[in-house]
Each structure stands twice: as C-alpha cells, then as structure tokens.
Point group: none
Chain length 200, copies 4
DNA sequence: AATGAATGAGTATTCATTCAT
DNA sequence: GATGAATGAATACTCATTCAT
C-alpha cells in the first residue's frame, strides 16, 4: 500500500464514517433535531472537519439517504440470487420483520426521512427521498411481474405501502409486535396471490 | 351578554384561531420548521400574545394534535350514524380518498406528526400522537367486531396501516392517484371480508 | 406623551442609535472587519436585539449609508440657504476641510464604503453607494449651472473627484494637512472659474 | 542547469505565480473577501503549499502590494526614458486613461488596497500602502521640479489625488468615461502649467 | 518541498421565551 | 389581557493556519 493510497483510504474512511453516522443519527433524531455536531461526535470527527467532506448539512442528509438506498440495494441484490420471485418477496418481508425493533423505535429510515423532507418548501432533497422509495417499488413490481401477475404495479404499491404503514404504526405505538403480525399477514397474502390468482 | 362574557368569548376565539392555525401550519411545515411567529401570523395574533394562551410551543403542538383528533372524532361520529358497520368502514375509506390532494401534498396530519414527534428524546408528545392513532384503531376495531369478524384487532391494524402507508407513498411520490387506487382496493377488501370470510 | 408614543419613541431611538453606531463603526473599521457585535456594543444594544431592527448585516450597512447620505443632505440643505452658488461650493469645500482629521484617519465615509462595497460580486449595496455619490455630484453640478458655467457636469466630477482623491491621500499618508492645502487650492480654483471664465 | 537550480527556479516560479495571483485577486475582490484558497486556486498551487512561500495571509497582501509597486516602477522607469518631464507626466496620465476599464470595474489597485488596509487597527500593512503612494508622489514631484515649477510638491498631490479621485468615481459609478474626460482635463492642466505659469 | 487533511476560533442568523408597559 | 420589544442560547458555516506524511 503506497502512502497516497493510505491517505486516500483514511480520507475515504472518514467520509464513510461520517456517512454511516449521519445515516444512523438522522434516522434516530430526525433531520431538524440533528446538529452537525451530533453527527461529528458520532463519527469521532472534529466539527470543523466535517465541512471538508460535506459542504452543507443537506449534503450529509443526502449522503445518509444514499446510504439507506445502498442498504436497500444490498438487500434486494441478495434476494435477487433466489430463483423464485415469490421467495424474494417473502424474503423482503422477512427482512422487514427482522428489523422490527428498530422500526418500532425509529420507524422506517427512508419513510420517516421522506416524510420529514417533504415538509420543506424547497424541493430538492424531498425528491431524492421519493426516488429511493420509487426504486423499492420498482424492484417489487418486477418480482410481481416475473410471477406473471396482472396489476404488478398496484401490488407493488400495496406491499410497500403496507410496509410503510406498519412501520409507522409500530413506531407510533412503540410496538414491534405489529411488525411481526403484519409481516405474517403479508406473507400469507403473497402466498394467496400465487396460489389461486388475485384474492385482493 | 356581559362584558366579561364577551371578553371570554373573544379570548376563546383567539385560542381557537391559534389552535386551528397551529393544526394547519404544523401539518404543512412540520413541527421543527414552524416557528411560533408562523402560527401567530396565520392566526392573526401578535406573537407576544400567543403565550397568554399557550405556555410553550409544545402546548401548541398538543393543541394541534387535539384538533386533528377532534376532526377524526367528528368524522367517526358522523359515520356512527350509519346503521351498517361495513358502510361505516367504507365511508372512512371514502373520506380518506376524498382528502387525497392534501395527503399527496402534506401526508396524513396525525401520521406525519407522530413520525416527527417520535424522533424526540423526551417522550411526552410522541405518546400523545400515538394515543390519537390508537383511538382510530379502536374505533375501526369496534366496527370489525360489530361485523362479527374474528381478528378484529388485526384487521384494524391492517386498515389503518394501509391508510398511513398509502398516505406516505402518495406524499413521497406526490401522487394523489395512489390514494384513489389504494382506496378502491381497501373497499374491495372490506367487501370480500364480509362476503365470504377472511381472504387476507 | 401617551404610552404608545413613548414605546415607539424608544424603539425608534434604538433604531437610530444602531444606525448611528453602524455609520460610525463601519466607517472606522470597514464593512468586513466589523461584526454585528461591534455595532451592537457601540449602540449599547444586546446582539440578539439588533435583528429585531435589521434583518441582516447588509441592512445595517444600508442604514449606515443612508445615514451618511442624510448628513450630506443636511450639509447641502444648509448651504442651499446661501444666496450665491459660489459661496455654496466654497462652503462645501470648507466643510470638507473642517473634517480633515476624520478624513486623515478614516477617509471619506461614502468613498471608502463605495470602494469596499464595489468589491462584492453581488451588486446590490454597491449601487447604493454609487447613488449617494451621484447625489453629491448632482448637487454640485446644479451649483455650477446656476453660476452660468458651461461644462457644469465636468466641473462637478472634477470637484468631487478632487475631494475623494485628497481624502484618500490624506488617509493613506495619515496627513490632515493635505486636506487643508488641497482645500485652499479648490477654493482658488472656484474663484478663478467665476472670475474670468474657465481656466481649467 | 543543476537539479537544485531547477528546483529553485520552479520554486521561484511558484512564488511569482502566487504573487501575481494575489495582486490580481486581491485587487478584484478586496483583502477581506479573498481567501487563501482563492489565491491558491488562481495560481494553480495547492492550498497547503502556499504557506511554504508565505507565512501568513498578510505576507501575501504585502507581496501583492509590492507587485503593484513594481508595475508602477516599471511604468515610471519607461517614462523616465522620455527627455521632457512634461511628456513624462502626460504619459503617466495616458497610462491611467489606458487602464480605464479596469479602474471602472475595480478601482486603482493601490488606492483601494490602501483604503481597505487603513481600516485596520494594527498599523503594519497600511503604512506599506501609504509608502507605495508616497513613491508615486515623489516621482511626480520630481518631474514638476525638473520643469522648474514652484510648489512641485503641491502639484504632485493635486495630480495624484485627481487620479485617485477619478478612479474612485469611475469605479463607484461604473463609468470608464470619467477616466477619459478627467484624463483630458489633467493633460490640459499640465499644458497650462508649463505654458504660462500656474493657472490652478 | 509538496499536499491533502485537520483544527478551532469566529460570525451571522434564528427563535423560543420573557418582560415591561 | 394585549403587545412590541428584549434576551440569550444555539447552530450552520467559514477560513487562516497547522500537521502528518
């Protein structure tokens, strides 16, 4: 490893730490209640130095959004290795249920971020958040289509909306059990869809 | 009408105007991005005077929450006059769809408020928001129970979560059409539930 | 004096104090080296309160500019009461010389402000500064015209430029004597202009 | 050419580039609104490296001032080759008029720098700026003396002040034409001085 | 000598809340 | 009760300067 590589690695590492910290802290505290100092502290970086990597707070928010988008891509990427689209969708639901405790405490990262950013008058970041959700919708729709179902787009909206809704309820009521029971319902629904046509 | 009565009436009016303004502005801009001055201006009340009616900003938020709770109570109260619980639930869905434009622009008032308040470390108002949602859940559950369905509680969670989810998606994607199509789906689902048992 | 008058008077007084302080401190330290805190302290006003009267630092700069414009208007207004335009112009030169010590220490308020504001990329305030100088030019030109001189506009530029130049030199060399000697020269020049036509 | 020579040459080149960049950027943006990064970028030098050549920002300002002083020396040096002092002075005026567009956009480099530096509490650099202006004054005075005129010093102040004043006005009003007309006036004045004694 | 990165002090601005009348 | 004004703590962002390599 050359010197310049090491330095670049250190710089990239700090940027990654800041991004990860931003993703977590912003999810937990929300955008408006999170200060740059909060993120800096969580990342172990002096405040002034944050601005070497991100010119504005909004850029940090965007990076956090991209981080969540990356997690999602990682998940769908792994699911894509399953041969059966139905298994992929059920795997997605399982993943959601697996994160029930985080959902019950802080909600869905993308969903809560989208909701908060939508309150802004200046529409830049809110479109970003919408884009991430759209990507999830697209992936889900593709699975439904591969299953040969009509109304794949509608089904996708139904599934993702169900996820956002159950996360919000679990969060508002602080009850992870909602994730479990609704997850089970979604799994049953997916099975029914493929078993004998569209029952919804 | 005595003078003091008139004054009290005027005072109550100001309080009401502040509450209504808070409900609307907080819904549109979110709690953190809304200043007391914003609400005061929307209500046509001088800033300094706000504090005569509400000791803190949090009390204004609480009042806004109560206002939304009141709207909900009004709606369910009206629906309660329908003889058939199924019609009541379908009426609820219709009401949601009827507000599709507001939902697409600002999301569900209670849901977005709950999501934002849940980010707070101090758990006072977030529980309030949860309580409002809980009341809706209870009302819905009661209808399902009156319909003689098993799993009334689960069904209630399903319906309300669907509403929250579709509102969030409609908002994030700025697409009121989502409210319409998902509303239709929910109506069909309600019909199927009562027609031939549980299809979900 | 009613209560509201007194309050308004107090508010107006503070605004005036802030404006006066801004005019003085900005002249002495320049725009960029002056902090809001500097002005607040000079005016005996808590920092946070400054923003009740001026929304931004730039508004304070503008107010200071207007203050200098006001001083100028006061001076020309007084000179306007002299019957002879030549006396008015000589009175103007005398006034300049009378302020030689301030000029030697801090330069001409309007001139140095204009020079500093002209460095800005965003052209808003710099035009303001130009406007103040233009007003002086116009007044001087009017006097020359009343004297029946041709090239009144050119003469005006010559006189005002001489003032700006001698102020700058006096300031750069910290030598008030320059104001005196150049003032005498300008007086002689004015006399010669009217004695036997244009000698310049 | 040995390696060390080449390196020294390269180093000297960087220093020269930095100095030139500083002279230009500081003239255009002013001292306070110019960052070290601005100058570094304009010179094509990495920020961190600037400090190898200049220990502080003030040293860069001083170098810029020296650069402007050098330009002036170059100009007067060239004019010194003219046999007639009157031609030298008229050549100086011509040079000023020749730079009318820069003057109208950014003012006289030395004059604006002097005005800005004079606002500083710590008197180090402001004296420097005064010194540069003094050198110009001395050169001009020498020409007047060679012409056999009495009051050479006063004439010098008059000429240089006129230049500073017209530059400031041209800049504040964004009007290069002022340079042209005032330049013509100065040329006439110089002619009149030598033709028939002192007309000013 | 060269350079990307680090540091920390400083600055404008916002805003909930309080106060004086 | 009503109201303009006051207060001060907080926060995003900048930048000269230093450091590690």
């Amino acid at each position: 490893m050359t010197d310049s590589t090491r330095v670049r690695a250190r710089g990239a590492d700090k940027r990654r730490r800041l991004t990860a910290a931003a993703a977590q802290v912003l999810h937990r505290q929300g955008v408006e209640r999170t200060t740059i100092a909060d993120i800096a502290k969580a990342a172990g970086v002096p405040v002034g130095n944050v601005y070497y990597y991100f010119k504005t707070k909004d850029e940090l928010v965007q990076a956090a959004l991209a981080e969540h988008e990356g997690s999602l891509a990682e998940l769908t990427g792994a699911l894509d290795r399953l041969p059966d689209p139905l298994d992929r969708l059920k795997g997605l639901v399982d993943a959601w249920v697996g994160r029930r405790d985080v959902a019950a405490r802080y909600g869905c990262p993308t969903g809560t971020l989208a909701a908060e950013l939508d309150k802004r008058a200046d529409g830049v970041l809110d479109l970003e958040a919408g884009r991430v959700i759209r990507r999830l919708l697209d992936w889900v729709e593709r699975q439904f289509r591969e299953l040969g179902l009509p109304d794949a787009a509608d089904h996708a909206v139904t599934l993702v909306a169900a996820y956002q809704g159950m996360s919000l309820l679990a969060n508002a009521l602080r009850d992870p059990e909602i994730m479990t029971s609704q997850g089970a319902r979604l799994t049953r629904w997916l099975d029914s869809l493929t078993a004998d046509g569209d029952a919804s």
